[in-house]
């Protein structure tokens, strides 16, 4: 019998890689922000920009944002009421201050209690993490805006934010 080394090796590598990713996720790596898994949220909040990880903002922020989608950063992102409600409850349930999301709290450090910041890119911690990014880089044509996380964090869709 011939032993199928290649498939075996590939299988093992895949296994090792998943274990690695899983381990990092479970260790609560500070670079990891669980990505949106709900298909409706992905579709409705991920077509104009990356579907931002719900853990990057507190529940209050999402509640306010979902209440004024017709004035969404200069865009009209309105949805029918049922869909909006569904999305709001997903975002709130997975918000940065919902139970057990220790590491995203780091990103929320410095946010005044009761405040409902609307931009991740204006969180004090986000600003300090990016203070070394030079001006020309923000203006680069592949970046365009601070909210284009994917331009620099190529694995942002998977939830990983490192250089």
């Amino acid at each position: 019998m011939r032993i199928p080394y290649r498939p075996l090796a590939i299988g093992l590598m895949t296994l090792a890689f998943s274990a690695f990713v899983l381990a990092r996720a479970q260790a609560g790596d500070r670079h990891f922000f669980a990505p949106v898994t709900d298909p409706v949220v992905k579709e409705e909040c991920g077509s104009c920009h990356l579907a931002f990880a719900p853990s990057m903002l507190p529940a209050r922020s999402w509640q306010r944002m979902m209440g004024e989608l017709d004035k969404h950063f200069g865009d009209n992102a309105s949805l029918d009421a049922t869909t909006a409600e569904k999305i709001a409850s997903y975002l709130v349930a997975n918000a940065g201050d919902a139970g057990g999301q220790r590491y995203s709290n780091k990103l929320l450090k410095g946010v005044a209690p009761g405040a409902a910041p609307q931009r991740i890119t204006e969180l004090p911690k986000w600003v300090s993490e990016h203070r070394k990014v030079p001006d020309w880089e923000w203006r680069h044509k592949e970046v365009r805006t601070k909210a284009n996380c994917v331009a620099c964090h190529t694995a942002a869709e998977q939830g990983y934010y490192e250089e």
Partner: protein
């Protein structure tokens, strides 16, 4: 006589099968045609709508091409930097098959670009244009 019958039923079967195979895009076109009270849409007018610069909408989005690009078979890009898949049906066969999605984006994007909603005629023309692309 028998031959004619066979031929006729063959034609009927063909018509029936194209009717069943008419997808959501064709249904949408039929709806727009009914709403616009027109029998014809024009890909050329659709293309003109796609590439024209309007002044009624937002200054940073004067045209459909701002986000979807001049080449409908190539990827576009939203102002937020996010890539938008091509809108031409030849390269993106699943495009424009969810009527609710099509309507939602016509409403959003026409308001952005033209400063008003598109008419059924305009929607039909544009859809005809990208179906042929």
């Amino acid at each position: 006589m028998k031959n004619i019958l066979v031929v006729t039923s063959g034609i009927v079967a063909m018509i029936l099968s194209t009717a069943t195979f008419a997808g959501p895009r064709e249904d949408l076109l039929a709806q727009y045609a009914a709403a616009a009270k027109t029998a014809s849409f024009s890909a050329a007018r659709g293309q003109a709508l796609h590439t024209q610069n309007f002044s009624g909408g937002k200054p940073d989005t004067p045209s459909c091409t701002t986000c979807h690009g001049k080449d409908t078979r190539g990827a576009g890009r939203a102002l937020t930097g996010k890539t938008i898949e091509p809108v031409a049906v030849s390269v993106a066969p699943t495009r424009h098959t969810d009527p609710a999605k099509v309507e939602k984006w016509f409403k959003r994007n026409c308001t952005e670009v033209l400063g008003r909603e598109c008419t059924a005629q305009e929607k039909g023309d544009w859809l005809t244009f990208v179906i042929g692309q």
